[in-house]
């Protein structure tokens, strides 16, 4: 059997597809006679754009569309090819349905005019090796490019079997994709490691897919959706991904010079926090939430093996959350290697002392800690299991360790109040030396999230985002099953507080490059806090005696009472609560602390990273 696995636009250009890498390796192991090749359609499309426009449409244009999945623009670009009508919903794009700028829409329209030609090329390239089966993996905006190529491919060579799988196929989405696209022979819903080779067995034997868990298949002209497996795939079954073919393709491509190749590694699946407290907005499928992680020695072997084999030092972990066991059992091994890795990880922000240092020592350069908010009350509404104090500690301590923190400020939660935001907004000027959120956004309604599954939580009325109607020629009810992103009535803050939040974060983003607030230990036990934040007077605060001890104690975060107890207890100072409260008030007024509902946390950092956009004239010498 000849199998081609395909990853179409809008997959990331500079990293391999773990789905192809894993399923390729798994198929070779389970069905030794199968010849498995890969089609890197996303890279081919980026090359096609470069060639067809004399280099005017670049991988940077590609990335802007690929990185904005909720806009649906990438899906729309292949919608004409999918529907066999080049003019399909062409004009409607400018009717305000999507929020993109005119310039971005112009780029999308230009790309769309090239989509038909690319689909023909992709079909010819896929069929050149006369495959028996073509397997498309679809995540984020890979539906329409995959479907357009699959549909055309079946017209040209109907005997080829088409299989669709990936995150976009989970649950009702996969069933809807199948029943509305008769040229898709099979859809695999859920994890594919076990069922995909079995499906290939059935195809090879010319049998139907009855009884294969999660698979959608055709009985005559009726789409049958087999129930999905209730038990997740054990990690022992997941092989080391095979990225050899991807590396050959990217290294020969003009796309390479537009970015840095990055390995994708999966240490775990699921979320150990979400198993107990599913964050209300998180769209992780319940069937996938069960946490499973690779044993530490296996993870280290996989990581070090892939780095050696591919000579790539950028590593992106696809995990939803870090297994706590790795702090002691994997990170020290990575740190001891002496390699200059650049690792990305998603973590939970409430870390224990020393954990952030361990991450940094191992080469974790970028974290996504799911900060989402700086109000403990709103974080509680989200069921995040962290406080604003923990979030601020992480933002503060990342500075001295040169860790990039990627986060967004989310709002619009049912039961949130304007005062939750006004308290935060009033304090944002004190935070301009810390890494600002990349964006402020109203929380999105995503399939599988508690907000979606339980309308009583506050989002009772919902409809698929309007872009789905510009992409698929399908009735609303079908779109409702096929969609992942939904519109709903607005909850939480609107109007003035919403506008003020956006403005305040904008000021933070603009002030950040030139702002520092650094604390250093002076001989004799005093502290020097050098305030060089935009919007604040240039000032050096010298803290001595119990003031210095108090500020150190606030690095963890404490209430006025807990601080007094600490000072008069372990630290042995004779100081009364009124005096401590008065000092706290002064420190807070000077922007040296953040007030999280009565818990005060110190804001000054123990160091400043080099800033990627720093200009030398911003360097100031005292």
């Amino acid at each position: 059997m000849r199998l081609i696995l395909a990853s179409m636009p809008w997959a990331d250009l500079h990293s391999p597809s773990p789905a192809m890498g894993i399923l390729g390796a798994r198929t070779r192991a389970a069905r030794p006679g199968t010849e498995v090749t890969e089609y890197h359609g996303a890279i081919r499309w980026a090359e096609y754009l470069l060639a067809a426009t004399n280099g005017e449409l670049t991988p940077e244009d590609y990335a802007r569309i690929a990185d904005d999945a909720p806009s649906g623009l990438g899906e729309w670009i292949f919608a004409g090819a999918l529907n066999g009508r080049p003019e399909w919903r062409l004009k409607e794009l400018r009717s305000g349905v999507v929020r993109q700028s005119d310039a971005e829409i112009d780029v999308a329209v230009r790309m769309r005019r090239l989509a038909d030609g690319f689909v023909e090329q992709a079909v010819a390239e896929l069929l050149a090796t006369a495959p028996d089966v073509v397997g498309f993996t679809t995540t984020f905006q890979q539906n329409t490019s995959s479907l357009a190529v699959a549909g055309r491919l079946k017209q040209v060579r109907p005997s080829t079997r088409v299989v669709l799988g990936g995150a976009n196929c989970e649950g009702p989405m996969g069933a809807a994709l199948h029943r509305n696209h008769p040229f898709v022979d099979f859809v695999v819903r859920g994890e594919g490691e076990l069922v995909f080779p079995r499906l290939l067995d059935r195809i090879a034997a010319d049998q139907d897919a009855a009884g294969l868990e999660g698979v959608c298949w055709w009985r005559d002209e009726r789409s049958i959706a087999n129930p999905e497996s209730p038990s997740p795939v054990p990690v022992e079954v997941i092989p080391v991904p095979d990225y050899d073919q991807w590396q050959r393709v990217i290294e020969a491509s003009p796309v390479l010079s537009y970015g840095s190749p990055c390995l994708l590694i999966e240490a775990s699946r699921g979320c150990w926090w979400g198993e107990r407290h599913h964050c209300t907005f998180c769209g992780l499928n319940d069937a996938m939430i069960k946490f499973r992680s690779k044993p530490p020695d296996r993870l280290w072997a996989e990581l070090s093996g892939l780095v050696r084999r591919h000579q790539i030092l950028d590593v992106f972990f696809t995990d939803n959350i870090l297994d706590l066991a790795y702090y002691d059992e994997v990170l020290p091994l990575v740190a001891a290697s002496g390699w200059d890795l650049r690792i990305f990880f998603e973590v939970k922000s409430n870390m224990r002392p020393g954990q952030l240092e361990r991450l940094a020592a191992a080469g974790v350069v970028e974290l996504q800690p799911g900060i989402e908010s700086l109000s403990s009350r709103v974080l509680k509404l989200m069921d995040k299991g962290v406080t604003a104090t923990a979030n601020l500690r992480l933002l503060r301590d990342s500075e001295a360790l040169s860790i990039t923190v990627t986060w967004n400020y989310l709002y619009g939660f049912p039961e949130e109040r304007a005062e939750d935001y006004l308290q935060v907004i009033a304090q944002l000027p004190a935070l301009v030396h810390l890494q600002p959120p990349r964006a402020v956004a109203r929380v999105a309604l995503e399939r599988f999230s508690p907000f979606f599954e339980r309308p009583e939580l506050g989002f009772a009325t919902r409809s698929p985002k309007p872009f789905y109607g510009l992409v698929y020629d399908l009735p609303e009810a079908e779109l409702g099953d096929l969609a992942y992103y939904f519109d709903c009535e607005e909850a939480g803050i609107t109007g003035d507080p919403e506008r003020t939040l956006h403005e305040a974060v904008g000021r933070w983003q603009r002030a950040h490059p030139d702002s520092t607030l650094v604390v250093s230990e002076n001989p004799g036990g005093s502290l020097l806090i050098a305030d060089r934040r935009q919007g604040w007077p240039v000032r050096d605060h010298v803290l001595t005696g119990w003031h210095a001890a108090a500020y150190r104690a606030l690095e963890r975060g404490r209430s006025a009472k807990a601080l007094t107890d600490r000072l008069t207890g372990d630290d042995g100072y004779a100081v009364d609560p009124g005096t401590v409260s008065a000092w706290l008030e002064t420190a807070h007024r000077d922007g040296l602390t953040y007030d999280d509902d009565g818990t005060f946390v110190a804001l000054a950092t123990r160091g400043v990273p080099l800033r990627a956009y720093a200009r030398p004239d911003a360097v100031e010498v005292r």
């Binding site: 050696r308 080099l610 200009r615 030398p616």
Partner: protein, 171 residues
Amino acid sequence: MIEVERPVRLDAADGQATSRFVAWLRDRLSEGLAVAWRASLDPRLDASPLYHLPPPLPEGPGEQDPALVRWRASYRPGVCFYRVGPGFIQVKDLRGPGGPSRYTLTQDPYLSLFTRCLTPTLLTDLTEDARRIADALLAERLLIAVGAPGDRWVTTLPSRMRRWPVPSYLI
């Protein structure tokens, strides 16, 4: 922040002193430290291969040395650096006008010469083979050679990326 008290003379004729300072500056960048320093630049020295290192501060608002003005305009962290992996060194260089250059050094004599010249080395101390390799790395501006004939010192230019600038995704 480290402050260098006296102005540093970058002298085309004094290969050893100039190379030592270049190596020192390169290694502070590797540690993620900002350096405040002032320069007296020998006009005979082509400073353009150094534009990935923290530039000297202006002497005053009227300072017009075009080489220093260009240096300050060109500099940002992460323009030319190397990283160590298992059995290889990777170099990324964004200084050229033609977009990024990437090199993966996997074998001697390139790997050993690149590493050896992290410490400034007299050109005349190199074997003839090593000198040929040095010429190739000089042509790519991965090394700099400074000094009078017979007293030329070669130094590796990329800094080791140990502390990534923030946000690292811009690099």
